[in-house]
Amino acid sequence: MEDVLLIDAVERFVNGEMTHQEKIYFEDLRKNNPELDQAVVEQLFFLNELNNFGVTKSFKHSLHEVQNKLANEGFVFSTPVIVKAKLIQMWYKYKKTVAVAASIAGVVSLFIASVVSAVTKKDPTNTTLLVNKVEAVAVKNAQIERKLNKLEANAIAEAKKPMVESKFNGTGFLIDVNNNYIITNAHVAMEAKNQLIVENKKGDQFEAKTVYIDQLRDIAILRIKDKSFKKLSPIPFQIRKSSAFLGEQVYMLGFPKKEIVYGEGYVSARNGHNMDTLFCQLSTTASAGSSGSPVIAKNGDLIGILTSKESNTQGVIYAIKSVNILRAIEEAKKIDDNTSIKITGASVLKGLKREDQIEKMENYVFMIKGN
């Protein structure tokens, strides 16, 4: 209770609510009682801190309002920095030199390339692609199971759609909610010879079509054709343009089994197998079916697509760097039907707890299957 009295006194002192006499008495008390004086100083300091807190908080609020307004106008986030002019100037200046240098470099590199390819032996399969091909037995099992499921479903008198006989499964994720474009690995999409199906975490299936394949980058773009697919709220992540940082913590969501599976790890090397710069290396575990899983950094940025693993070593996983998605999309846009692809992500995940990030994220991850 003494504390309360003290606070009261200090507050009235600060606010100038004390009478003249009270004030003299109070100051006298402070002079003669160092302990009291200490408490007063502390209280003054604390009130000042509290006041600063209030002022800063209120300012931050105003700041956010202005920021949102400007973001809506597109002023804050989407002005790419233009440095072209200087480059062009340099180009004109050094055109001839560059031409000569380039031709020399060309000849030399051709020579080196031929020497290198003559000397090194090709090792085509040191990495295993993580697409899950269902074997014949498994297919049978699945058939039986599915029949059972069907009976059950019929019993409940709710046969929705014919289940699709799947010969493989992988993972993919949505990047455009307006046109329903999905990104996965090229080696996953190419397994589908007849039919391509995407399945959400609830098990709802939708027919999809491959609209673009980039075998070099191992990226495929699919589009959900099904009219029954309900539009999702805007993509909660951004695709990072720069490379992931060494040691950066990441997590993945994928479909190595019939339900969505969470995995975590970290970026263990900047490049992939044999220093392949399209990839980065992760330290985590992944199994067949994880191909095409989104790799998300702690701050919610998408940094890659899980693709393959080192065959001989445990825990070494390769992911395509996210910048390649952007490049693939640019390429895909050149095809007439796909000019409307637009990446609409905003970093909603940023700052959220991991569990909350996953809860948001899992709606955008799909199992890719077909036959």
């Binding site: 504390d3 309360v4 606070i7 009261d8 604390f46 009130l47 801190e49 509290l50 006041n51 600063n52 807190f53 209030g54 002022v55 800063t56 908080k57 209120s58 300012f59 931050k60 105003s62 700041l63 309002e65 202005v66 920021q67 307004k69 400007l70 002023f75 804050v76 986030f77 989407s78 002005t79 920095v81 440095v83 951004q238 990072r240 343009k241 720069s242 940082f245 970093s347 940023k350």
Partner: protein
Amino acid sequence: MNTLEEEKVLLEGLAREDKECIEKIYREHYTMVQSLVTNNNGTSDDAADIFQELMIVLFEKARSANLELHCQLKTYIYAVSRRLWLKKLTQAQRFTQSDVEYMEQVANVEDDVEMHVKRQNDFTMMEIAMNKIGEPCKSLLEAYYIQKKQMQAIAADFGYTNADNAKTQKYKCLVRLKKLFFAQYKNVE
């Protein structure tokens, strides 16, 4: 009005939290800060964060007694942003030698930034304490100390029978908040 006077008016407006002034500063200087960050290993998201922090530094400066910038606003903004970004790079350990060399020193803002970092720490500690204290204490304290409402109005809003009751409750809350706050303070030092 010459530039210096204009800038002084702008800062005074900032101290009053005038939204037009905030917007004006954004419009005039955001692009510069963005290129500074994006040309030095940062993303446009980083740039937005840095600019926001810069605005808080500027706000603190505008509110403080020595409002003198000793240089043009633009130079000051550049120097502070640079300092803040370097700090962030160092924390994330993502800069290479060359980044630092390319970002030349233009004005002495070291003290202001240090001050800001300290204030920012205090702010976070107070925020943590506020979030720990629970309701109705949090709302009660915010109503009195932040929104500066009168005790009578608070008593009515929170359903206390009279202002004195509300006051006693407020004191109790303040004592608890103080404990939570200083507990962290000691941990830091």
